[in-house]
């Protein structure tokens, strides 16, 4: 009898301990040795991060070293996190939202979830790299490019505009990743500059002509392998791969559309402070750091190859300067995520 009781009590205790351990461990697992979101004290800043993790971790490390403020990251994709913020509403625990593209940020802005950014921070970033509304700021930029395989496509055959790609002669000759937020941002630039009808026509052309890949890297790799002649991606994937040996880009070249063509769209990565934040001072400090010289230098000199936008920090060699790219001038707040998704769903790309 005693043995039975002992065994039962031990078993129950073990199970209880295991479940406590389980919930404790999971809730306190964050990036590195930082405390997780549930266990976060009010001092730690909660950042919903849709930018590349490695870059943001570099930023966070330097920020914490400079200011002593702890930062906790929730990593995810542009669309996922922006939709999550909208769904969470006022109950969100996020203090800062960082995106790769402006589409996700303008979705959150339109839902009325952002606080205005400190004017001092806004002054650090030139006007073409932030929205007129002042509700968020640009922290980095990336350019649309057409990556192509010179063995399959001669220079004279290159498209002069991204709109050319809907022509029948481009059938099975180019690829893209419509499921990703990156590509959706590029489509939103087409919508903003050409209007709904033209965009629907272009998307239909894409549905007929393009090979669909899961993301930018898969597209670039396919072009490199000669599976498809060209593809629409963002510039930095090419430069990053090139700098680390060119395994997925060695057989390819980049073509910039320029001429203020929608294909020269420069997408702004955004940073914003959430209205629901309890830590808005620290949040504003973080944004100021990102847009200022320290943050932009980390971006400009680091592994990322994205374009710095503030603090007069130059882009890393061998990137062509942002001004020379002749991007179309678009206020990033005006980009319309839900309409893009509707159009792409209608056409059958999503």
């Amino acid at each position: 009898m005693r043995k039975f009781v002992t065994v039962t009590v031990t078993a129950t205790a073990t199970l209880a301990a295991a479940s406590l351990l389980l919930s404790g461990c999971i809730s306190s697992s964050g990036t590195g040795d930082e405390t997780g979101v549930q266990g976060a004290s009010t001092e730690a800043l909660v950042v919903y991060n849709a930018q590349h993790e490695k870059l943001t971790e570099e930023w966070v490390k330097e920020f914490t070293a400079q200011t002593g403020i702890d930062v906790v990251l929730r990593n995810g994709g542009d669309s996922e996190l922006s939709n999550q913020l909208v769904a969470e509403g006022d109950a969100s625990r996020a203090d800062v939202f960082l995106t790769e593209n402006s589409l996700a940020m303008s979705l959150v802005e339109k839902a009325g979830l952002l606080s205005p950014v400190d004017p001092a921070t806004l002054a650090l970033v030139p006007t073409q790299y932030r929205p007129a509304s002042g509700m968020w700021t640009g922290i980095a930029a990336r350019s649309t490019v057409f990556v192509y395989n010179p063995d399959l496509l001669a220079e004279s055959e290159l498209p002069t505009s991204i709109l050319d790609l809907q022509d029948p002669r481009w059938k099975s000759n180019w690829g893209g990743a419509p499921a990703g937020a990156d590509f959706q941002a590029i489509v939103s630039a087409i919508l903003e500059t050409q209007g709904t009808e033209a965009t629907t026509a272009w998307l239909t052309g894409m549905k007929n002509n393009a090979t669909i890949y899961r993301n930018n890297i898969a597209t670039m790799k396919a072009v490199n392998a000669g599976e498809v002649a060209g593809g629409i991606i963002y510039h930095y994937y090419w430069f990053r791969d090139s700098a680390s040996g060119g395994e997925n880009s060695g057989n390819t070249k980049l073509h910039y559309f320029g001429e203020q063509d929608p294909g020269a769209f420069v997408s702004i990565s955004g940073g914003g402070v959430l209205k629901s934040s309890d830590n808005s001072d620290k949040a504003q400090q973080f944004l100021a750091f990102l847009a200022g010289v320290s943050g932009q230098t980390i971006l400009g000199e680091g592994y990322s190859f994205e374009y710095p936008v503030g603090g007069d920090v130059p882009a890393k060699d061998p990137l062509p300067s942002l001004d020379s790219l002749n991007a179309p001038i678009i206020d990033p707040s005006t980009l319309n995520a839900p309409e893009i998704l509707d159009l792409m769903t209608q056409v059958g790309l999503l």
């Binding site: 199970l15 809730s27 697992s29 997780g36 929730r74 994709g77 669309s79 890949y213 997925n248």
Partner: protein, 504 residues
Amino acid sequence: MTPPPSRALLIIVVVLAIGMLVPVGYVIEATARIGIDELATLLLRPRVGELLGNTALILVLGVPITVVLGVGSAWVVERTDLPGRRFFAVLSVAPLAIPAFVSSYGWASVIPSIQGLGGGLLVATLAYYPLVYLPALATLRGLNPSLEESARSLGLKEGAILFRVVIPQLRLAILGGGLIVALHLLAEYGAFAFIRFDTFTTAIVVAYQSTFAGPSAASLGIVLALLSVIVLGVEATARGRARYAYVGSSSARPAQLVTLGKFTPLAILALVAVATLATVVPMASVIRWSLATKPEMLDGLWRALIDTSLLSLGGAIGAIVVALPVAWLATRHPSRLSRVLEGGYSIASSLPAIIVALALVTVTLNVAPGLYQTAATVTAAYVIIFLPRALVTLRAGLAQVPESLEEAARALGTPPLLARMRVTTPLLFPAIAAAGALVALGAANELTATLLLAPTGTRTLATQFWSAASSIDYPGAAPYAISLVLLSVPAVALLFAQTRGKKP
């Protein structure tokens, strides 16, 4: 006449059933919320037609192929005099140890242009044929050979005996295995996404990533749920009134082995070819890439191992806690009510993992925000998805524990509950352990639901593998692939031992 179940037991089972039916509830609620008009707009478009076509094709083509491979392997291994039979018996189960998404990553690195229906069929049939092979093997071992002997004595050739006598007796195994393969094909995400074969499940994940748990994702989910119900219906109709035996019976005497004679090299070649394609090609890829792995790529591995172990342990404990009452009810107090309740548990588990994940996201966001994106939600998902494994194992274990022992204890004066705990429960420990192991190992490989539900900063082996493979970082993904395969081996060994008739 079995005694009626206690009220407490019934209440527990019903309450748990309600929890298990959350995914079904979500599908119904989403249909009502979105409304028929908008559903029609969302669904009656060419893209959905494409998805439907792809999904239907992979089912209609994939299931028969797996049946042929599975039954063929089982027959050759069990009923012929093939040299090295026992080696091939084990080899034929090996593909189960490699998760389908690892297999597709392996194939994509060998043939980068693999894609579409052909690619999907190749990867999926090779990954899933063991799911037909195992039940076919178990049934073959248990068949009474007298029917075959009569046929032989009446002059039928071996080939005719195979098709006219043996295979009809395998009907239940084929239907059961085929059903499981069909449900896996419907639910598969990683393998198909990697090689760009679009099905409903891959489209739902894409819709989720772009629009969160909005009407777009939900509408596709409704169709997927309908397809699952149709598959279940087809199987139930084909099965008729026959029931699957939970406890295998052994045959009176071993069957006479068929002499392969001049077909021996052909048979060996066929088995080796299938095994090579299913196991060797993916694993060789994984190992090749792991040789290129740099030490810094192993950074997250330890953390992922811990998180994976904790989450799957939680899932295992949860699944046992949920499965025990209904297993008890079904075994000790079988009745129409217990069958209905058991059926309720099974329906939710037949729904693809993506639906379970979508349901839990929606429910937690709207009803219990504190639980949203926590370990509890992931654990709940694992419990719902993997319950059948626990249920089947526990039922088999319970069926083997005679009630008379407990009755004897009660007759000797022990209070009923104490008798149950002291006598029956210890005898159940092996079944409980086996059930826990199967659930935990399934949960460790789970990708789809974990992608949607994992809390911030929690990385499992599967999600880390997926994020590396998606960035075409093959060497970075390889260590995770190897860990996943190593983790699966014990579960496969367990399944194989169960098939062989050994006690779990």
